[in-house]
Subunit: 643 residues, 3 copies
Amino acid sequence: MRLGVCYYPEHWPESMWKDDAARMKALGIDRVRIGEFAWSRIEPTPGEYDWDWLDRAIETLAGEGLKVVMCTPTATPPKWLIDLHPDILPVGADGRARNFGSRRHYDFSSPSYFEASAKICTAVAERYGRHPAVAYWQTDNEFGCHHTVVSYSDAAAKRFREWLRARYVSIDALNAAWGTVFWSMEYRGFDEIDPPVATVTEAHPSHRLDYRRFASDEVVRYNRMQVDIIRAYSPGRPVAHNFMQLFTEFDHYKVAADLDIATWDSYPLGALEEQWFDPSIKAKWLRTGHPDFASFNHDVYRGMSKEPFWVMEQQPGPVNWAMWNPAPLPGMVRLWSWEAFAHGAGCVSYFRWRQVPFGQEQMHAGLNRPDNRLDVGGVEAQTVAREIADVLKADGESQVAAKVALIWDYEAKWLFEIHPQGADFHYPRFAFEYYSALRSLGLDVDVIPADAPLDGYSMIVVPPLPVLPATLAARLASSNAQIVLGPRTGSKTSSLTIPATLPPGDVLPIRVWRVESMRPNVTEAVDGGGESRHWRDFIECGEGVQVQARFADGHPAVVSHGSISYLASLFDDAYTQQVFERIAGAAGLAPRRLPEGVRVSRRGPLTYVFNYGVTPYRIEEAARFVAGQQDVPPQGVSIYRSH
Amino acid sequence: MRLGVCYYPEHWPESMWKDDAARMKALGIDRVRIGEFAWSRIEPTPGEYDWDWLDRAIETLAGEGLKVVMCTPTATPPKWLIDLHPDILPVGADGRARNFGSRRHYDFSSPSYFEASAKICTAVAERYGRHPAVAYWQTDNEFGCHHTVVSYSDAAAKRFREWLRARYVSIDALNAAWGTVFWSMEYRGFDEIDPPVATVTEAHPSHRLDYRRFASDEVVRYNRMQVDIIRAYSPGRPVAHNFMQLFTEFDHYKVAADLDIATWDSYPLGALEEQWFDPSIKAKWLRTGHPDFASFNHDVYRGMSKEPFWVMEQQPGPVNWAMWNPAPLPGMVRLWSWEAFAHGAGCVSYFRWRQVPFGQEQMHAGLNRPDNRLDVGGVEAQTVAREIADVLKADGESQVAAKVALIWDYEAKWLFEIHPQGADFHYPRFAFEYYSALRSLGLDVDVIPADAPLDGYSMIVVPPLPVLPATLAARLASSNAQIVLGPRTGSKTSSLTIPATLPPGDVLPIRVWRVESMRPNVTEAVDGGGESRHWRDFIECGEGVQVQARFADGHPAVVSHGSISYLASLFDDAYTQQVFERIAGAAGLAPRRLPEGVRVSRRGPLTYVFNYGVTPYRIEEAARFVAGQQDVPPQGVSIYRSH
Amino acid sequence: MRLGVCYYPEHWPESMWKDDAARMKALGIDRVRIGEFAWSRIEPTPGEYDWDWLDRAIETLAGEGLKVVMCTPTATPPKWLIDLHPDILPVGADGRARNFGSRRHYDFSSPSYFEASAKICTAVAERYGRHPAVAYWQTDNEFGCHHTVVSYSDAAAKRFREWLRARYVSIDALNAAWGTVFWSMEYRGFDEIDPPVATVTEAHPSHRLDYRRFASDEVVRYNRMQVDIIRAYSPGRPVAHNFMQLFTEFDHYKVAADLDIATWDSYPLGALEEQWFDPSIKAKWLRTGHPDFASFNHDVYRGMSKEPFWVMEQQPGPVNWAMWNPAPLPGMVRLWSWEAFAHGAGCVSYFRWRQVPFGQEQMHAGLNRPDNRLDVGGVEAQTVAREIADVLKADGESQVAAKVALIWDYEAKWLFEIHPQGADFHYPRFAFEYYSALRSLGLDVDVIPADAPLDGYSMIVVPPLPVLPATLAARLASSNAQIVLGPRTGSKTSSLTIPATLPPGDVLPIRVWRVESMRPNVTEAVDGGGESRHWRDFIECGEGVQVQARFADGHPAVVSHGSISYLASLFDDAYTQQVFERIAGAAGLAPRRLPEGVRVSRRGPLTYVFNYGVTPYRIEEAARFVAGQQDVPPQGVSIYRSH
C-alpha cells in the first residue's frame, strides 16, 4: 500500500523541483510517474536527444528517496515527426486524417510510427533502464483514449487484410464464416476486402466484428513491442500500462497478459457524468461518484494484473473534461483512496502533483493548487498516508478473497454494439447493474475473463455473453456454484451468426425462440412487483426447467435448471437485488441488504466500510477499529478487524 | 387472394430446398419471390454466369406447383463490378462515395451502372423469361432505400444539367423561373449550375426542388430500362416493384405507370417506431402498429396499381432494423394479412420463409425460426390460407368501392421538406391525420394522385397541396363532392414561388395573407374545444365565405364556400374527427365514430372488422360471418356479409 | 428620428418603381437602402458593368426626395467570379469548400477575393460616391452570418502564420505564451503551425483563442479596405455596416472603430427562437420577443456608434429563417420601432419594402404583401411616422444618459466557448441576465467595452470577464461607482492561462481557489431563498471582505469589499434582481421593480413605457403625454414628459 503522484518536471521551472520532491516525500508519497508526454523535450529535433534536464529531474526525485515510474512518451509524437511522416495520423470514419494539435494522433497500424516508437522507447529504456531510482515502467498513456483504437487508414486496411488471411487462410472460409452470400457481399480474394466504413447502410456485422478484433490486436502488438524493448533494457522492473475506466475498445486481457501490473485511471465524478446513467442518478451521486463505479473497475483490473493492480491516476478534485465538472465532497479523495486499497490496490497515485496553469487540462485539479498551496485533495492524501501505517500493521495487504465471480468480456461489448437489436442495449450496463446488486448485498466480487478458472466460487454471474464457448458451458455446468446467466447469453457463434439450435445452447435445456427490444418508455411487469426493461428473451422450457417468475403476458422471466438460473430481461434495481439475494442465499453466501450508499469490502483480516450516502451508518458488528469508528459519517471510511 | 413468401435458395443447403417447397405448398402458399440479392451467385466472375443452381431451385419450386416471382438482382452489385467501375458508387451530401459492403451502393445516374444493369437484366430475363413457373417479375428491390435516390456524383451533376436544359431550354427562362436575381445567384449558362449541396446556408429552394424532381426522374428512367428488357424477353408476365411504406423520395406514380403491379413492403411495427409519432403513441401501439398505417399504404398503392396491388413483404414477427424491435401480439400477422386483402390486395407475401442466421438481417423473423420450426407468424399464415377459401366463396375478391378520395402528392413532400417554414411541418403527417380521421369514422378511402379522375366521389380531401394546378382547382370546383382543403394548399407555383394573388388561388374566394408556424409547446385554441398545432394560415374572407370556426384570437380557423371547406391549421385528432364528421355528413356518407383501435373496411359484398385495441368489440349489425364472429376480440378479425 | 426601408429594385419590374417610391414617401419613409445583393446585375459579365438600371432606380427614389443608403454588393459574389477563382470559397471545419448557391460564400483571407472586392467597391463608389441622393453607405451585409468568420482554407492558414509571427515575433515566445510543452505540442517555427481543426481531441485552447482573434482581425481588415475606398470616392457620407443581433464571432468594437454609424438588424421573434432561452420562455414571449432582447442590442450598438446608431433592418411581420416563425402581435412593430428610438436610434429601417415571391426569403414578410397591399407592419410604420413629428417637437432626439454601465466583451465569448469547463456556460446569458435584472428595476444601461471611460457612472456591472486588464482593475477600484463582478472574472491571462495568484487578481482581496460547473438538473440553494445555477466559484476571503450570502454548503455566494461586489454563481432571476436592487440602492439609483413585461426608458426629457405583457399597466406619475396615455395596454407604448 503506497501512494504515488503524477509529475511533470518539464512543466515547471527547475527551481521548483527540489521543493516539490521534498513536499511529496513529506506528504507520504513515494512513487512518482514522469515522462509520458515529454517527447518534444527529450527529442526536440529529429535524432538529437536532450537528456540533461530529465537526468536532473530524476536525480532530484531520487535525492528525496522517491521511486520513479518511467513512461514511454509515445502518446504525444512531436510535430516534426508528424511532418516527416504524415501517415502517422489516424484516419476517422469520415475518411479524414485526425490532425496534430492535441494527443494520441497516431495510427497503431502505421509502419512509420511503429518504427519511430521503437526508436524512442529504445532510447529512453537504454538511458534509464538500469537507473536505481527507476523502479517501474509505464507504456504510452491510456491506449485508445479519444476513440483512437479504430482507424480507417490505408495502413490499417492493408494490415486488416493480412490479419484476415491469417485467420481464415482461404477466402471461401471467410465467405462461409461471415455469410457473405447475404446481399451478394461475397469476396473473391482477401485483397477485395476494405474496412467496413461509409457503407450505404450498416456493413456486414461479421465484417465489423472482425475489424474490431483486428484493431484490438493492433494495440496488443504495439504494446508488446514497447514491453519487449523495456524488458531488454530494464530487467527486473515491472512494466505497467494505465488503462481507463470502463473502457472497452480493445481487449484489455490480451494487453495485460504482456504486462506485470494493470493500472487504471480513476475519475469517479467525470465517469458518472460521461457514462450511461440517467440524469437523476447523475444528480444524486454528483459529488461522490456512483458507489459501485470505482469498485467495479478495481475488480476488473485486479482480475488482469499479475502484481497488485494500481490506480495510476486518482481524481484529486474537480476535473476539466466532462460535460460538467463538479467538486468532490470533502472526504471523497480519502474515501476513494481507501476503496482502492480495500479492493487490493498496491498503489494509489494521484493525478497530478500541481494543477498546471496552461494547456488543455489547466482546469484539472491537482494535489496542489496553481498557487502551490496544498489543495483539499492533498490534505486528504496526507491523511491516507498516515492511516496506511496502521492498516499495514493490521496485515491489511493480504489478498482479496471473493466467493462471487462475474464474467467480463470485451468482445461481448463490440458484438452488442455492432448488433444491438435495440438502440440502448448497452453491455456494460448489464454487467454493472448485476455487479451493483451483488455489492448492495455486501458481497465481494471477482471480475474475471471467460477463460479464467472457476474453482472456489460459490456464485458465478454471467452478464449477457453472446459467444458462450462450449468449454465454458461445460465448466459452468460442472461447477458447484450457483450460476446466473443474463439474457442473450449464447446467442451468437464467434462469427456473429445465430447458433443452429438457438440460444443459449447446451448450458441449460431452454431455447430462446424469439427476442424483443423495448423502447425506453415501455416496461413489462414481472411477477412479484418487478419491472423489466430494454430487452426480453422469449423462452421455451425443456425438461426440468423451473419458471421462477413470469412476465405479465405469461412468458418466463426467470427460469432455473438445477443450480443454473437464466434471466430473460434486465430488471429494475430492486428486483435484480431480490433475485440475486435469493440465489446468493442458495449459494450459502449470507447476503445482507445494505442501506443506500453504504458499501462493505474485505481484504485479508480487515473489513472496510464506505459511506457514499447522506446519513451516518452504524456498524453493528463488534469490531476493533484500525481507522474510523462504529459510526461511519457521510463520506466516511471505517476499517476494522472483527472480534 | 393468394399467399406468397420471399425465399433465398442461395442462403440454404440445396438439401433443404425440396422440403421447404413442400412445406410452403402445405401451408397454403403459392407465390415465391426469389433472386433479388443473388447477383454474386448468378455471375460470380465478370461475364461468367452460373445458372445451374438457380435452374435447380426454380425446378424444385415448380415441382411443388409453386409460381415464381423472379427478380432482377440489381440492388446488390457484386464487389468485382464496383472494383471495375468505382463510379457506380453513389456520392453523399458530404461529397464522399458511399462504399461497397451493404446494399444499394449504386448511383442511378452512373452510365457504367446503367449499362451493367441492362446486361444482367437481359441475362436473367433471357434465361427465365419464358419459363412456365416464372409468373411475375420484380425489378430491383426497394428503390431508394437507405436514402439512395439523391446522389451528388459528377455523373448526377452532368445529367442534372441536361435535365435542366430540357426543361427550361434557355438559361434566361431558368433564371426567371427560379428567381435567381435574389442573392445574385444568376447563371449565365447551364454548365454553371451545380447540384445544390454544401452551400454556406440553404441553397435556392427552386434549385433544390428541381434537383429532387431530377433525382426522381432518374429512378423512373432506370426502372423503365429494366421493365423494357423484361417485357421483351418475358411476354405476358406482369412486372412489379416492391415499394416501401410511406416512402416519398421519388414519384411513385411515375414509376408505377411503367409497371403492371404496384407492391409494397409492410412492416407495421418497424414503421411505427421509425415514423414521426410521439413516444406515447409509439408505446400505445407498440405490438400492433398504428391502426391506420398499413391501411394508408394499402390505399396509396392500390391507387397506382393496374392489377390488384400486393404486399410483397409482410412482417411475420419482430424485425431487426428499427431503433427498437418489439414482437407483434399473437393474432397480428393474421390481422395484417386480412387487412391487406380487405383493402384490395391480390397477394400477401411474407418476408421471409425462414430467419437467416447470418448477415445484417439475422435478427429478422421469418415464417420459420432458424431452427426450422414453424414460428407464430407461420401458424397465423396457415390460418389465413384456410380462411381465404371461405372468403373467395363469398365473392371476396371484388373491387373496393370508396366514396371518399384523398389526394397524395410526392412533390408536395419535397417542396415542404425544402421549404418548411416551421421545423416540424411534415406533409405525410397531415395526410395521415386526415386519413386517420376518415377511417375513425368508418369510411373507406381511395388515395389518388392529383391528376386522377374525381368522378363518383362524395368527398374529396386535399392535404396541403402547395402546387394546385388550375385544372385541378377547376375540377374540384365543378365536382359535386364535398371538398376539404388543408392549409398551405395553393401556396406555391410549380417553380416554388408565391402566386401573385396569394394562396390558395381561385378554388375559393379567400386569401391567405400571412402564415405562422408554431413550436411544439405552443397551441392555439379553436372554437368548440379544439386545438391547433404546428401551423396557422391567416385568412381574408371574400364574398360568400362562411367562417365555421375561429381561433381564440379571432382569425378564421375553418372556412367554407359552398361545398368547399378550407382548414387553416392542423387540429388535434378529436377536433379533426369532428370537422370531418360534419363534412362527411353533408356529403351523405353516414360517418360513424368507431371505438379506439377498431377499424372497418368493405370489399365487394363483405365487411371486415379489425380490432387493434385492448377491449373486445361487438358488431351490432345483423351479419352472416365468413370468418370470426359478432364479438371481435383484441387483435381479432371478423368478416361478414350484412343481412 | 427617421424611418427607412430596404428595397431591391432588381427584384421587381421597373414599372413598379415609381409607385413604390411614392408610397414610401407617403408612408413617412425617407431612407432607402439598396444594392447589397445586386452584384450579378451590376457586373453580369466579368469586367462589364451595367449601371443603367441602377442609375434609373436611384433617380426614381431621388425623384421622390428619398435618400439612398448605398451598399457594396460583396456579400454575394456572382458565379462567374467563383468559377474564375474557386479559392474564394471558405472552407469548413470538415475541410470542404462551402459552395456557391446561397450567400456569403467567401473567405475573408482569400487574396483573390480581397482584390475582387476592392475592384467592385471602387466601381460602385466611383459611380455613386458623389450622387446627391446617396447620403449613406453600408459595407457588405451582415459580416459573419451563417458562420462565415472562421475559415480553414490554406489562405487562412498562411495569413494566420503571418499574424502569429507579428504577434509573437519569436517561436519561443509563442511556445511560452501558449504553454505548448503540455502534451509535447511545441513548435520549432511558425511554419509548423496549422489551424486548430480536426484534432484527435480538443486543440490547445491558447491556439484556438488566437485563431479566433486572427479571424476577427481578418474581418476588420476586410471592412477597412471597403471603408477606405468609399471615403476616397464619397466624401462626407457616413459609412455604416449592419451588424447582427447578439452576434459575437468577431470583435464589433474593432470593426465599428472604422465606421461612422453602427447599425444592426433587429428580428425579435426570430432571435427569441434561436437563442438559448428555455422552451417555456420561448412560448411566453412567442409573439412579442423577450422584453430585454432588442433593448440589449440597442444599448450594445449605441455603445460603439459615433453617430446615433440605426436599426438597419426591423422585423415587420413573420420571418422565414428561425426553426419556427410566429407572427408578431398587433402593435409590436410600432412598439419595437419606438423602443429603438427610446434607446437612441437615429433611424429605424424596415426589412423589406415588399415580401419577395421567390428565393430563400420568400416567406419573410415586408411592409407590403406579395400582392402589394400594405401589411399590418406597414400600417404600424405609418403610425410611427406620424408620432415621430410630435416626439421631435418635444425634443425627443437628445442623448440617452444612463447611470449604469455594463461591460461587454467579444473575446470573453470566444474564450468561454473554447474553454467552458461546463457545457452550458454561455457568456451572453450572464450578460443578458444581468442586463435584464437592471432593466426590470427601471434602470437605463450603457453597454460599453472594457476600455471605455467609466466616468459618470454610479454602478458598473461586469459580467464574467476572464481577462481583466490591470488598467481596468485599477480604474474600477478607483471609481466612485458600485461595482458588480460576475464569476470567473479575472480567471485567465490574455494567453488563456491561469494567473499565478489565482482569480480574480488585485481588484478585491479574494481568491477563487476552486470552481465547479453544475449540470442543468442541479442547483445549489443560496441564503435568502435564491438558487444558483451552472457554475460556482469557491472563494477564500481576504481581509475586509464581507460575505453577503452563502450557499447551503457554507461557501460564499456573494461577497463584497468596499463598493466592489463579486458574485460566485449565476442566480435565478428573482435573486439576481434582489442582489442588483440592493447594490443599485447603495449607488443611489432608486431602483423600482416593474411588473412583468413592462419596461421604461428615458431619452432626453421624455420617458417611454413599453408593455410586452398581457395586462394593462397604469403610469402613476403625473405626466404630459406625447404619445399613448396613462394606461398602457398590452403591446402599447406611452411617451411622456414628467410634470
